[in-house]
């Protein structure tokens, strides 16, 4: 299987879907001539021209709204936003329109729109550029939410997102862009709502979201090598729909769960999952569900502070071990 970077896998998905369907086009700030802030759209402007690869003014709310309108009228727009923090400027169009239109107009109109954007800390971009906000989008009915952590998933899920008739919030990660992985040749779209077990184990279930799926895997290795704890690592890949069955099956086996996310603790993905797990598998739990999250603060710039403010392997290992404390 060819090995490529996450950003290249996304680029392939965009190119293939644009070749396949003339209605698919992409727009965003600096995605054309500049080739994208993260080079995900590299080469597309040259290949498809300015009709289908459209540089936009800096106007997030309007760009997304234009995407919603174009989607209602039959096109299949992809909007790239430079970071998830900037999608906050477009919250109005995303929540009040994209997510609601199909429902609010009795199913007459659909909004096959994809909003792509990266999230994540670690590049010292400070409190206006570094957050992980998947929980905000998870909150909203009508949206599909994907947060792929490998190049293969990035490609397969982006293809699925583009072909789906619902608005999709597609969350990439700044740190993942440069990561390599195998990507199946001529792979088609993957299905939303299918989690993957990245590593099998019988002692504790670790669910990692977005980049934290990678951190969870590394923590699992450390748990095995240094603590004789075999962790099962699950990457849900999409948060809406969520493959709760795979997570519950694992928890019923291990009787312990740790949820790892980069975002904030209150109202987070972990808070939601912990509620679901205790509702559905209370009798199987030997310990409270543990959450490992980003610190409950705006992301600071200073390097040591920033690194201390989001989860690393050590934090996951500590949380997992704490579930065995009373045995």
């Amino acid at each position: 299987m060819p090995v490529m970077r996450y950003r290249e896998a996304l680029n392939q998905a965009l190119r293939e879907e644009m070749e396949r369907d003339q209605r698919v086009f992409i727009m965003g700030e600096d995605i054309g001539v500049f080739q994208g802030a993260f080079k995900v759209t590299q080469g597309l402007f040259q290949e498809f021209g300015e009709k289908r690869v459209r540089d936009t003014p800096i106007s997030e709310n309007t760009i997304v709204g234009v995407g919603v309108g174009a989607a209602m009228a039959g096109l299949r727009p992809i909007v790239e936003l430079m970071t998830i923090n900037f999608s906050l400027l477009a919250m109005d169009q995303i929540v009040n329109h994209a997510a609601a239109i199909h429902y609010m107009f009795g199913g007459q109109a659909k909004v096959p729109l994809v909003v792509r954007m990266p999230q994540g800390a670690g590049h010292q971009l400070g409190p206006t550029h570094s957050h992980s906000l998947e929980a905000l989008y998870l909150h909203i009915p009508g949206l599909l939410v994907a947060a792929p952590s490998t190049p293969a998933d990035a490609k397969g899920l982006l293809k699925a997102a583009i072909r789906d008739d619902n608005p999709v919030i597609f969350i990439e990660h700044e740190w993942l862009y440069g990561q390599r992985g195998e990507v199946p040749e001529n792979g088609g779209p993957m299905r939303f709502g299918e989690a993957v077990v990245r590593r099998e184990g019988a002692d504790v279930t670790i669910v990692g979201i977005s980049r934290m799926a990678v951190t969870a895997e590394r923590a699992a290795e450390q748990l095995a090598n240094e603590h004789e704890v075999e962790a099962e690592v699950i990457d849900p890949r999409t948060l809406r729909p969520l493959d709760l069955d795979t997570i519950l099956a694992s928890v019923r086996k291990t009787n312990r769960a740790v949820i790892v996310e980069e975002g904030w603790p209150h109202g987070g993905v972990g808070a939601n999952l912990a509620a679901l797990i205790q509702e559905q598998a209370f009798d199987h739990l030997d310990a409270p569900v543990a959450r490992v999250t980003g610190a409950d603060v705006p992301m600071p710039y200073s390097k040591p502070l920033e690194q201390a403010a989001f989860p690393h392997e050590e934090h996951v290992v500590h949380a997992a071990l704490s579930l065995f404390r009373d045995l």
């Binding site: 500049f34 971009l125 409190p127 440069g178 200073s302």
Partner: protein, 416 residues
């Protein structure tokens, strides 16, 4: 593209009736102060670029080299009691307002003596004492804030005014039109200054704005527009003084467009494939510091040696700033939760859970949270050192050519 930029410049001059030559030099003392400020900003920015290459500075670094006359000319027109708000390209604004260079550099280094205590970094400088109310990382985000500050000035019955600076790209945000309308409707003492450096990141003005005479862009909202030559410190100063007067005395907000150019990339890793070397060269010939210096020598205000001494002293101040920043420690890890809330009788603390201790604990007691959470914080912070070595290597290579720069892209972004 180059000729269009040139034509636009001519319009700016034309509109002000070829007044470049007509601005008489101010007093010798003022000339010296203005020149020294521009030199300090230039030398500071050059050094910041070097410090970025050494990975002393992280994140994005947006330099204002080329825009010094715009920054200094405009801020010279402010009273000490007036307010200034800017964007993420704001080191020059802080320095012009009088924030010590060491304190700005320490912020860029992420140190505790930085003007935002290391929390904000290059894009988020702040100095309440000097009424510099911030650099902001969100394009267009500062216009409503400035309008609100002007509202407070008006509400309190003062005659303070507000100067709000932003880029050509920011004029496309909804906040631009919305702020103009509200400021005009409520007759607020605010001057909106668009620093037209011809690009929003890699997108040229004519590719991002339907109306390229940005001074006209707010007329429909009831905010009259003006243009000045952003490469001529005296022209910027005269224009800003006039619009500030109108905003302050007549309670009519104004828009002022300064035509300028950024000589360097948008941020440090910008390969600048969207413009030609010739275009940059053409603008560099109009270097605002060199041209003002030349005039001062020609008109006999200072001999060349004196000008060179000012510049040497600017370099020394920057040396000193780097020493200060280097000597300042990183913020204490235990300070992570400081300042999330204003604590008092009403809010004594808050419940939180974080990655350092899965058990709930009180955020304001972070300092007393014990050895385990502290150890975990240190484990996280230790990753800072790992990144440092990698970043330094990448950036050193990055100076070595396009291939290294491409590799750089795989771990770092070049966006905004």
């Amino acid at each position: 593209m180059a000729s269009e930029a040139a034509a636009q410049r001519e319009t700016a001059k034309g509109k002000r009736d070829g007044r470049e030559a007509l601005h008489p030099l101010p007093s010798k003392g003022t000339c010296e102060a203005v020149l020294r400020k521009m030199m300090l900003i230039r030398r500071f920015e050059e050094r910041a670029g070097e410090m970025y290459a050494k990975a002393k500075i992280g994140g994005f670094l947006h330099l204002c080299i080329g825009e010094e006359a715009t920054i200094v000319g405009a801020t010279q027109a402010l009273r000490d009691t007036d307010y200034l708000l800017s964007t993420y390209r704001e080191h020059g604004q802080a320095l012009a307002r009088g924030t010590p260079a060491g304190v700005v550099m320490a912020e860029l280094f992420g140190r505790v003596d930085g003007c935002s205590k290391g929390r904000g970094g290059s894009m988020h400088l702040f100095d309440m004492e000097r009424r510099f109310l911030g650099g902001y990382g969100i394009v267009g985000g500062n216009l409503p804030l400035a309008t609100g500050v002007a509202l407070a000035c008006d509400y309190n019955g003062t005659d303070d005014a507000v100067l709000c600076m932003f880029g050509d790209g920011a004029t496309n945000q909804g906040t631009f039109g919305e702020s103009m309308n509200l400021a005009a409707l409520w007759r607020l003492p605010v001057v909106f200054m668009v620093i037209n450096n011809q690009f929003g990141m890699g997108t040229a003005l004519e590719r991002h704005s339907a109306v390229t005479d940005l001074s006209k862009k707010a007329e429909g909202y009831g905010v009259p527009g003006h243009r000045c030559d952003g490469m001529d410190v005296l022209d910027v100063h005269a224009a800003t003084e006039e619009v500030l007067r109108i905003a302050r005395e007549d309670r009519r907000p104004q828009l002022l467009e300064a035509i300028t150019y950024r000589f360097r990339g948008h941020s440090m890793a910008d390969p600048e494939e969207y413009r030609t070397k010739e275009e940059v060269e053409e603008w560099r010939r109009r270097d605002p510091i060199a041209s003002f210096s030349r005039r001062l020598v020609e008109e006999g205000v200072f001999p060349q040696e004196e000008i060179e001494r000012f510049d040497r002293e600017a370099v020394e101040r920057v040396d000193e700033a780097v020493r200060f920043a280097d000597a300042s420690p990183f913020p204490d890890l235990d300070s992570l939760y400081d300042d999330v809330y204003v604590l008092g009788d009403q809010v004594r603390g808050w419940w939180t859970v974080d990655e350092r201790s899965p058990e709930p604990h009180r955020g304001e007691r972070e300092r007393e949270s014990g050895a385990v959470p502290h150890g975990l914080a240190e484990a996280g912070a230790a990753y800072a050192a790992v990144g440092d070595v990698q970043a330094r290597r990448r950036r050193e290579q990055g100076r070595g050519g396009p291939r290294a720069a491409a590799e750089d892209r795989d771990t770092e972004r070049e966006g905004g």
